[in-house]
Every structure is written in C-alpha cells, then in structure tokens.
Amino acid sequence: MFIEGVQCSSSPWWSARSSRLLGGVHGPAGVRGAGRGVGDPRVPGDGPAGEIVSPSEDPQLPQETVVDFYKSMTLFNTMDRILYEFSGRITFYATNFGEEGTHIGSVAALDPTDLVFGQYREAGVLLYRGFPLDLFMAQCYSSADDLGKGRQMPVHYGSKDLNFVTISSTLATQIPQGGGRCRVAIKRASSDRAVICYFGEGRQRGRRHAGLHFSATLECPIIFFCRNNGYAISTPTSEQYRGDGIAGRGAGYGIASIRVDGNDVFAVYNVTKEARRRAVAENRPFLIEAMTYRVGHHSTSDDSSTYRSLDEVSYWEKQDHPIGRLGRYLAARGWWGEEEEQAWRKEAQRRVMEALQKAEEAQAPPRPALHRRVPGGAPAPGEAEGSHVEALEGVQRALPPGALRGVTRATR
C-alpha cells in the first residue's frame, strides 16, 4: 500500500498540482459519496451515494463498528456545534467540522495503548477513545474538574488514561517528541506500541522537519498523520507550499508516505491500520497526508467569510462531508434509518447539553493551582508564602463574580 515515494488518492483543490504529477495512483478504498470517486481526482462525478469504489479494499468492518464510527462522528459534531454556540461562555473554541473522518478513521485503526501526540484539532480521537463529555466541558469551562487545573485555553485536552498527551498551542512542537517516545517503546519488552503524531499542513517550521528527520534516522515506529484541511487560519495551501503537498516531503526523509481521501473514513482506517502494522514490524515511521476540508472557521477568533467563498464551504459541507458520506453508506446497507437518525441526534444533543450544564454550574479550580507544578514556583524568590496568598485573595475580592470562569471572549 505504501510506497517509498508518494501514492495518492483525490481531492479537487490539490489534485491539479500533485496527483497528476504522480499519475493519480488509485486510493486504497473509498465510500463513493456524492462528491467524487476516490480513484480519480479529476472526475468529481455525481454517482449514487454509498457504494465502495474498490471492493477488494473494503475493510469489511462489522455493522456495530461502522455504526459506532457514525455515532462518534455525529456526537463529536454535536459537541462542536453546541460549544461553538456557547463560545461566549468560554474564552475560545475551535471546531472540527468536516474533519471528523480523519479523527475517527485513524484512531479506530490504532491500539488503545498507542500514544497520541495531537495538535489541537483532534478532539475526535479522544472522544472515540472514551474521554467523557463531562471532561471535555470541564476543560473548556476551566472548571474544578478540568484535569489541567484551568491553566490552558479551551480545547487543550489531555488524558493519561487514554494515552493522549496534553495539547499545547505551539503547533507541531509535538512532532520531534514522538520520536523520543518511540525510541523508548521499541527498546522495551512491550515493543508492540506505536505512536501517532497529528499535525496540520500549515506548519512548515523546522519542527516538522526535525521530527520527520529524527524519526527516520533513529528508526522510530511512528505514524505522522497530516490533516491537510486546506487552510492555515486564512492562508490557503496554494500560498503555503510548493512541491507535492505534505506526502511529497516524506520521500526525502526516507519515510514511506501516502496521500488519502480524509473524508473517506474507511480509506483513513485502512492506511492507518497498514501504517501501524508496518511501523511496529519494521521499526520505521510512516507519513499519511489525509486530504480533508476545514468547514468551520479556524476558531472563535476567526471569520472565514473574509477569505473564502460560501459556495466553496457549502460544497464540502453538503457534497463531500465525511459524516454525509458515511451516512449514505449506512443507509445503502440498511444499517441506519431515518428513525435511528432522529433518535440519535436527540440523544446526542441531550448528552452534550447535560455535560455543558454541569460545567456551567461547576466551581473554578482552587487558587493554589496557579503556582503548583513549577520548581520554585511558589512563592517567588524572596517572597514569603503568606504574602502570596494574601495578594491572591485581594485579587479575587476585586474580581467580579464568575470572572475566574473566563466569560470574556478572547481575541486572537
């Protein structure tokens, strides 16, 4: 499946530059949605919904698993919609609209013990692994239940139990770290663990270079998963790079790479599964470039209508949305009907609102959380601990009620 150069499937907005150059190799599998056939990037087509384009590559997942994919993607989408609506109550939010397929397809192909180094738009990975809605909300609301003690902006989740390393805002810094984690894993008895490192296509800083370069040279079983969603905030990919996208970079490092239709959850699942199998078996990294589209704004601090057309967004939302495509597949098989859909939508909405309500009512984390976990952090050198506490109490008295919950909407 992987080749030492680049293999690719499709996506209209990048295909002109890359796939033709490479001869448009067929993708591994694909649910044929209303948008296009996976194997041929230049033929959008409008064929019937929901059939597998390459039956030989159908992962043959059981009904239960596929329905679970769908439910995870839609619950995730519901959480995004509601938190976006309530973003005035928290300081910030970034939705994942349109990219649900890359999250669920990839995490489902991993072992639950595989460590995830994420960026900030991979919450679906955490949700699929079972991170409770209550904890998502606690983090976004910086409530006392937040595992991060209210220290980070919303969407910076982390879970030790679910092997998901806490997110930092600094993009792509996680990439070089993945290699180090792998190195340890492969030198230990339990060497069947892999690491996956998610990042966006926008980050061209040396960090990604460092990560790819080290992992290849030091032979680390790591999957680099690029979500190519078309935009880095407002900058389209046409202004971000030349050459053959992100997958095209892999060959130079000696990393086997593949480009995949990120809105095709089965295709994502297949390539991730194979990358993981080979990474562990061969002690080497793999690079996946999943072509998808950021349907939402970059974040609550962004208005994307100033730099892209509504028609463009509408195409991806209506014609080539991973949830829509999977839904048509389910419907075609008779695995999911309108009745189930209505009931599940209602149920998902109820679950999210309940969790949100709990977070709304929760207390802020205790004040000492400000200082803990820093060597020498409290009190400051030369400052007595007592005076610190007094000063903090003074500050808190001066704050309006609820201020510690961060009701001010942040600008970027």
Binding site: T166, A185, P375, G382
Partner: protein, 393 residues
C-alpha cells in the same frame, strides 16, 4: 554550525596535544597552571601564553565521605557521572551530535562501547530535534540525557525548552511531565572561542519557570550537580564551563553522589563584601578575595551560586545583611544578565543593610569578541577595582 564546531574541535585537539606534552614532563598537578609552562619549546610557550587562562584553578580539598577518589578533570567527571547513571538506570539514554565516538569535548568517551549503541547514540545535527526527542523519551518515563554541542547552539531548541519542556507538567495538571530530561551543554569563554563558542546563555533560561539551570565550578561539583540534575524530577539544563574541561582537575569520588540543587555554597566567609559568581568566574572572584585581603585588608565572602534557577536568594541575602556590600560577576553581557535579578532581589530584601550600590562586573553589551576576549571578560582587575569603589563609597 557543524563546520564551526568541527573547526573548534580541531583547535581543541591540537591544544590537547600540547597539554599532553607538558603533562608528561610535570605529572600534571594543576591543569590550568600547566598552560603557562613549557621548558622545552619556545614556540609552544608563546602559543600557550596567548591562550593563558584568566584565572587559577585551585583543586577542591579531597573528600572521602563518598568513598575512593580518582584524579579527574571536568570532562572526565562528567563522563563518570554519565557512566554511573547508565550503570544504575537501565532506561537512561545519552544522545546528541557526535556523542557516539565520545563527543567533541570527550565527555562521553567509552560509553557507547560499554553500554551499546542503543543507549549512547548520535543524532542528526538539529538542536530542536535533539531536545524534542529528549522530551519524548522523558515523557515515556525513561531518563533522557541530551547533549547540545555548544551552549551557543542551543537557541534552535529554545522553543522546545521554553514552550514544551518547561510547561509539560504545568499545562497537563501533572498528567504528563518530562522531568527525566537533562540537557548538557558546554558553556562560557574558552580563550579563543569568539562569538559562537563562548556564550553564557543562562539568563535566557532563568526567565523561564518550569526548568532548572545549573552550572558547576569544577570536577567535584560537575559530577555531584549533574547527578542531581539527572535525578531531579524537573527538566534541567546543565551548563559545563568548557574552559575547565581540561584545566580543572580534582580528586573526584568514583561512586555516585549528589550535591543539592538550588543551594549556593559559601566558599570563604568574610565580613566586608559579598562576592557572587558561578562557573569559571568563581575562580576569578576567589582570586579577587585574596587580592582584596592582601592589598586592601578587606574581608570578602565568596559564594558560588551553582543553581541559577530556582536560585538560592536566602544565602545571598543573609550574606549581604552581614557584609553590606554585594558584587555579582558573570561573563554574559551585563544588560539583562542574571546579576540584574540578584541585584534587584537583594535591593528589595537588604535595602537598609547596603553600604554601597550593588556592583555588577560582567561582560560588555557586545557579542563575544575573538582577540579582544581578555578585554571583554570581567577579569580579576575589573572585579578588584569594583571592590575598591564599594569600600570607598
């Protein structure tokens, strides 16, 4: 960068040969003083005078509380600490540019052969990759010892250190941490290092809560403090004064031992002026204290800060309460240097005890110059002059 580093390596290599020659004649008692003596070769003598050290290293008194000792210079004491760690901690790994063959300063000599290439290995020449990789190792619970070939080249890793390593535990509410990470880097002036092989970047990192920054003054401290950094549950940066690698020789315990972090050491008690420094500069101020006693009858208290972050304000302030005068000296440029932080804290804590303005004798606010190094560094004459001014204030 690699070319520059390798160029210096060649220089270091040739001076090593010179020192070895001299050693064979004099049985190498005091590393630094040897640089000045060459009975057999005039040309060699000239070369070495040009690189004559601006300080005199006085070995530590021999300590026996940690068992048998062995004569080691500073790089050998670092090797000894790393050897102890690899032997006792099966998860420990050492990596960096050129470490496999022993490192350009010879700090990892023999370790790959002894412990295998899976535990002591080269990395590509990419500092942010080295530190990022080290963070990954540490997050996995293993002990990561990363070498940055020169402190001057640590800046590409600044992002990984400041935004990642320092914040890992805090931002995750203690779910994840990289406390097992230690970053070693040769540091400070070396006599001929010029702009990019002489820097002392400790102040950049002192501004970053979440890490520890440690600098030893000699082989005994290097081993004890490095082992403390490796054992410490926070990411640590360990700067090694590269001019001392060969010039400083102590009797160093062979077995592992630790010197506590964040504790300054009072090397000499005194009543009139407190002198504070770290790394190589400690040897300069020790000489200044002797000069002040001899020429001025002034009694100086000499303190080695040892840990820059979090630093031991209490020891310094108690000393200044006693003496009423403070001089802080470092090689790094004066503006925004760590002396400024010490000065500010002491002023807040000891305002009514001060008999004279706090003196900072530091590098100038210029890049580190090549042939002007003797003028650039805060040598004993500049420090002595500052002591005189404080006494006469």
């Amino acid at each position: 960068m690699a070319a520059a580093a390798r160029f210096l390596l060649r220089t270091a290599g040739s001076s090593k040969a010179s020192i070895t020659n001299v050693n064979s004649g004099l049985h190498g008692k005091y590393g630094a003083t040897l640089l000045r003596v060459s009975p057999s070769c005039n040309l060699l003598a000239k070369t070495q005078r040009r690189y004559a050290a601006h300080f005199t290293f006085q070995p530590e008194s021999v300590q026996t509380e940690y068992g048998p000792t062995q004569k080691m210079n500073l790089f050998q004491s670092v090797t000894s600490a790393l050897d102890n760690t690899l032997a006792s901690d099966p998860t420990a790994v050492i990596f960096g540019e050129d470490v496999a063959f022993g490192g350009v300063f010879r700090c990892t000599v023999g370790l790959r052969d002894k412990y295998g290439k899976d535990r002591v290995f080269n990395t590509p020449l990419c500092e942010q990759g080295i530190v990022g990789f080290g963070i990954g190792v540490a997050v996995a619970g293993a002990t990561a010892i990363a070498e940055i070939q020169f402190a001057d080249y640590i800046y590409p890793a600044f992002d990984q250190i400041v935004n990642e390593a320092a914040k890992y535990r805090y931002r995750s509410g203690n779910l994840f941490d990289c406390g097992n990470l230690t970053i070693r880097a040769p540091w400070g002036c070396v006599g001929h290092g010029s702009l990019y092989h002489s820097q002392s970047p400790e102040a950049f990192f002192a501004h970053c809560p979440g890490i520890k920054v440690v600098i030893p003054r000699g082989p005994v401290q290097a081993k004890g403090l490095l082992l403390s950094c490796i054992a410490d549950k926070n990411p640590c940066i360990f700067f090694e004064p590269k001019i001392l690698y060969r010039a400083a020789v102590d009797q160093v315990p062979v077995e592992p031992y630790q010197i506590p972090l964040s504790e300054a050491e009072i090397l000499q008690e005194g009543s009139d002026v407190t002198l504070v420094a770290w790394g190589t500069q400690v040897h300069v101020i020790k000489e200044v204290a002797a000069m002040a006693q001899e020429k001025l009858g002034v009694s100086c208290e000499v303190i080695d800060l040892q840990t820059i972050l979090p630093w031991d304000a209490e020891t310094i302030c108690k000393s200044v309460v006693k003496t009423g005068r403070l001089l802080v000296s470092h090689e790094a440029p004066v503006t925004g240097g760590f002396a400024a932080e010490i000065s500010s804290t002491v002023q807040e804590e000891c305002f009514l005890n001060l008999e004279a303005p706090i003196a900072r004798v530091c590098g100038y606010d210029t890049p580190f110059p090549h042939i002007f190094e003797p003028f650039y560094i805060p040598d004993k004459w500049k420090c002595f002059d500052a002591v005189k001014r404080m006494i006469n204030y």
